[in-house]
């Protein structure tokens, strides 16, 4: 539950989700669940020219773009470096790991 709690604290921040199909989506973290499924708001595709055929579904409308991303298709999430207490993360990890 460590990362679920961590992502809950990040709601409202800007993140970039990189999927396993190499598509990168930047947006505001709206919500997360225990499976680390992610809902993003105000999304846009990073480096759109590189993956035009994949980014079509997220493209071009002026209306608000939201999306739901299944946790299992995520490769990375690029996180905002500021406002993160790494000591808190270290302590939480030690407690979580001990639970086996």
């Amino acid at each position: 539950m460590l990362f679920f709690s961590y992502f809950k604290d990040l709601v409202g921040r800007e993140v970039t989700v990189e999927l396993k199909n190499d598509l990168a989506i930047r947006g505001t973290l709206h919500s997360v669940d225990q499976y680390l499924n992610i809902k993003l708001e105000n999304t846009r595709v990073v480096d759109q020219d590189k993956y035009p055929h994949m980014s079509n579904f997220l493209v071009c409308q002026l209306s608000v773009r939201n999306c739901f991303i299944r946790g299992s298709v995520v490769r990375y999430v690029q996180l905002p470096p500021e406002g993160v207490d790494v000591e808190l993360l270290h302590d939480a990890t030690r407690r979580e790991a001990r639970g086996g």
């Binding site: 490769r75 999430v77 790991a97």
Partner: protein, 97 residues
Amino acid sequence: MGSEEESAVKEPLDLIRLSLDERIYVKLRHDRELRGKLHAYDQHLNMILGDVEEIVTTTDIDDETYEEIVRTTRRTVPFLFVRGDGVILVSPPLRTA
């Protein structure tokens, strides 16, 4: 109880715990590698790394000579969550030259 249990190395995940707040090397699927500072992990090997360098290795084959052209692409990310299902291995950084 308490600190003795915490510092005992009993299982593989305990070995990773020794690397918290240290730089580590992570080998991922699809010829990717990461080097960064380990800030958090869980039993799935989901991780948060800081000051990360990602190295992607691609192998192209020349159409005429059929020789292998090995390329590496690097980038750095200040703070990265890595999903555990892509992780192959975790280790202290390799001593390269």
